[in-house]
Amino acid sequence: MKSFKYEYRKYVLAGIALIIVLSYITRLAFLQLSDEEYKTRADDNAFFNNVIFPARGVIYDRNGELLVYNQPAYDIMVIMREVTNLDTLDFCNTLGITKEQFDERMRIIKDDKKNPGYSSYTQQLFMGQISTEDFSIFQEKLFRFHGFYVRERTIRRYATDYCAHVLGDVAEVSQKEVDKDDYYSPGDYIGKQGVERSYEPELRGEKGVEVLLRDARGRIQGHYKNGALDRKPVPGKNLTLSIDAKLQALGERLMEGKMGAIVAIEPKTGEILCMVSAPSYDPHRMEGKQRGAQMMEMQRDPMKPMLNRAISGTYPPGSTFKTSQGLTFLQEGIITNTTAYPCSRGFRIGRMKVGCHGHGAPLPLIPAIATSCNGYFCWGLYHMLNNRTKYKTIQDAMTTWKNYMVSMGFGYKLGVDLPGEARGMIPNAEYYDRRLGNWNALGVISIAIGQGEVTLTPLQIANLGATIANRGYYITPHIVKHIQGGHLADSLKVKHKTMVDTCYYRMVVEGMRKAVQGGTCKSANTSMYEVCGKTGTAQNRGQDHSAFMGFAPKDNPKIAIAVYVENGGFGAHYGVPIGALMMEQYIKGELSPASEAKANTFQHKHINYGTRER
């Protein structure tokens, strides 16, 4: 039976079909005829940008000795659809992987989500960074593994066993780095630490690109527009470091089995001659495929070998800091070269006491530096902070003090061309107002002898030595001496004058000279050249830290140095002898037989740190 009542509704349904088809055709017209965007995006897909990687710049030391270079490595590529009759077992054995790893890798390659743009017609990365040795075995059998190809790349190699912290390393970019900088694509390499990171733009060069056309099969048809859009890669620039490889090697030897740092600076130029951080690690561990596993292991090590203590570690400078105090008091007119302060085995006011060792008293500045008298510098700061004729309030006095410290390069980053520099700590008036509320000179007196809130990095201590050696200025310390075909950043050449006049520096130099001739640094004395130095013995929760800051020769200094040995006891125990050996090595170019014997003794003198997390 025919139902006529609703027959009109066939037109409604026919109309719905018509509307759907018409609106889809409109949409098609929009997509295919008017909108160029989709066409360009399809072109992006069909073009193949073949990236050509430039050779990364190599790294030399200041004497032209090669430190870091590139070695060919091989990526194993696969064209999925050409893989036939693969003897999987033989293949896995040759590459030293398991069948499971093989299957897993093949699965990931085919996964569109993890490997977007996958095509079974084009080369896909199967395994990266095969070393030359592994590769030669693989290459012999390559003809049997259909569908597998080899792509050449380079890996970073180290020609030295030392200098790991300064050189840093190279690894694949993280997703974060890709997001931050358009230059990088996943799979690229980037400097992760040290010079490799801070000079990444210079070292990496510029990637080149060949714009190739692909046909529907994914096969390369040739260069687009005859290569008009191709770009040649620009090789990376070679770097010459200011590091002296021999000095660095000696430093790392001497710091064996200890924790701490040695930094040496050429005072006139600000060039860093060596930067030792102990414990260190062999830079070879960061080569190639093993890097990830090695990193993990070192990050778990409680001794933190990855940490560059020379710039990232902050320590109480101890008595090395007294030189800066003497300079400040002289410039501010708190003391003159004849002002003498009493010291009866320390600084005493009321119940306040800062102990000192036995020496003649009262003393003026030069012998006070030579004997490292605590009392003298505490009195100096006491008089400065309580001088109400010169400064209206203690806050004013404190601010003046802080400005002197900052002018000497403390409390802020020096701006060294390495990543991870710490700024240390120089307290100011606001800090004490906040921390202590109502405070007076006695409450903060220990900062005069480099204790209390004051902390410096070993680099800042070495820089203090360079400033005194220069009699009143420093050049921003830096680790790169020369960039091939480029020039150093202007910020690394700036001459920073401190707030203290040269004439006062001469007095402090005299004190440091006396310390070597007959004071705390006696063991550094030598007839070959005039050494100036200052010990430091910094109190902390455990055994005292042993520190030394000095330079040589006294006139026209070539090297300023800071040695910091954690829990090494008196400054004279480790700091002075290590500093003396380092200066000898640099100035004479080698160690005398006697010194060599001494160096061996210190190399094998280890300090037991226990397993405490630090």
Partner: protein, 487 residues
């Protein structure tokens, strides 16, 4: 002798126009599968190892199946409709239990070397059962009980298929409601569904956009305005009350316009509050009409207006409570978020492939986008990409027109059926084709949600091809018997 004559008559009565369109679509579909799966190392399009080679086997077996179906008399279906329905439901239920897990869905039954998807075959059983039910003496779509049974027949397999985790295939069963509309189900239900979709899309898409210089959300404004217009339209269509329409239109639209002008020229404020108030007054007025005229329709219209008014606020609240990935899917679909590597990756690549086709396309087997496998699922659900890339605008528009003709032809054929069963079954068939076309092509063009259902005759796969052939040729046989007298 008479029987022979009958069969001959039947042969002459077969609708050859439909069969011609069917063959054209299958051939074209095969060419597209070749384009989507072509393997340059295997230039033999007929080799069994390739998808194109398999597809041609599916196509030939489909033709055989079609021929067999043309021999089975309508009487058989008339008798066995419920048995077939029962058997298919049992199969669907069994599938849930015994089917192996394939990408999270339990809908594929491995039978020897091939896998079959019972959900593809269940449609014809439902269509037959519905035809049989509605052909019964005394069936009336206006009776609550009768329509209840019909809807039950539709919803039951949907639930089973949802239990197989094949939500996409289950949604296809909504197509049967179009058939119910043709058979006399009130159009207001379809209209409500349509209104819901419009409210949702407009409201969500523009909820965070604001009219220039005014603190008025475009989404909220549009939904409230549409709610007014739709309610007034319903009063006009179903109650023919011109007076009421004039009053409502004048007051609602008038006050909205006044508020808009005030906001533009005097003090910018959120005019949605005014509109909300007007909507409440309008609902009150319609309720008043219901009380005054004692017409039940006014109550229905009032509840429609109430739901429409609150729809934006309800969905907005629900939307905030959705899981993050579900929200992202909806946002990508509505074009609120550009996320080419994430949820929208397929659709984006599909649009690029189609867009790159241009006017004439790149030619058979020359599409770079589809060959280089930028589009996932390109030989199954996203097969339309290949048509768009290799055939260009001309090819894809021709395909859509061919489909339109196919569906129109089926409407024509369904309408010439002499009994309810034939007409109901015919409408079921054509509504399923229409629904697949609507969702599948819309999804590839980025207009409808990404629901994994095939494009009939084009998407690769034996199950779907056989399923659609089954649907179509049972109907063609029924049609061929239209001139025989019923005993």
């Amino acid at each position: 002798m008479e029987r022979e004559k009958g069969n001959k008559g039947i042969f002459l009565s077969i609708d050859w126009a439909t069969i011609l369109l069917y063959v054209i679509l299958i051939g074209w579909g095969w060419a597209s599968v070749c384009g989507a799966c072509y393997d340059f190392n295997q230039p033999d399009l007929f080799a069994w190892e390739t998808n194109s080679g398999k597809q041609i086997v599916w196509a030939i077996t489909s033709l055989v199946l079609a021929a067999v179906l043309l021999l089975i008399e309508k009487r058989f279906y008339d008798t066995a409709a419920y048995v077939i329905y029962g058997a298919m439901m049992l199969l669907l239920a069994v599938t849930i239990v015994i089917a192996p897990d394939t990408k999270g869905s339990r809908s594929w039954l491995p039978i020897g070397p091939v896998k079959l998807q019972p959900a593809e075959f269940a449609k014809f059983a439902v269509a037959l059962a519905l035809g049989k039910l509605m052909d019964q003496y005394g069936f009336s779509i206006k009776k609550m009980k009768d329509i209840g049974i019909a809807i039950g027949l539709i919803v039951f397999p949907m639930l089973l298929i949802i239990a197989q985790k094949e939500t996409g295939s289950a949604l296809v069963y909504f197509a049967f409601f179009l058939m119910l509309y043709r058979e006399g189900m009130t159009g207001s239900l379809l209209f409500c569904g349509f209104a819901c979709v419009v409210y949702f899309v407009v409201g969500m898409k523009f909820s965070q956009d604001y009219i220039t210089n005014m603190p008025v959300s475009i989404g909220e404004f549009s939904v409230l305005l549409l709610a007014m217009i739709f309610s007034i339209g319903l009063v006009l269509v179903y109650c023919h009350n011109w007076m009421a329409v004039k009053i409502m239109a004048a007051s609602c639209l008038g006050s909205t316009l006044l508020a808009l002008l005030f906001s533009i020229y005097v003090i910018p404020f959120d005019i949605c509050y005014i509109m909300l108030g007007v909507c409440v007054l309008m609902i009150g007025y319609i309720i008043g009409l219901a009380v005054y005229t004692h017409l039940y329709r006014y109550v229905l219209i009032a509840s429609f207006a109430l739901l429409s008014t609150s729809f934006f606020y309800i969905t907005d609240t629900l939307f905030q409570h959705l899981d993050n990935h579900q929200r992202v899917r909806i946002e990508v679909l509505l074009g609120m978020k550009d996320d080419p590597k994430g949820a929208g990756y397929n659709v984006n690549q599909a649009k690029i492939a189609i867009g790159s086709g241009g006017l004439w396309g790149k030619g058979f087997l020359n599409g770079t986008q589809t060959k280089l496998k930028y589009v996932p699922e390109q030989h199954t659900d996203f097969i339309f990409c290949t048509v768009g890339e290799e055939g260009g605008f001309v090819g894809s528009a021709l395909l859509l027109i061919a489909y339109l003709l196919f569906i129109w032809r089926l409407i024509y054929v369904a309408e010439r059926q002499t009994d309810t069963m034939g007409r109901v079954y015919g409408y079921c068939v054509l509504c399923i084709f229409l629904f697949h076309l609507f969702i599948n092509v819309g999804m590839v063009l980025g207009l409808t949600p990404v629901i994994g259902i095939p494009l009939p005759f084009f998407s690769y796969g034996g199950s779907s091809l056989w399923g659609f052939t089954l649907l179509l040729f049972i109907f063609l046989r029924m049609d061929a018997e239209r001139n025989l007298k019923r005993q």
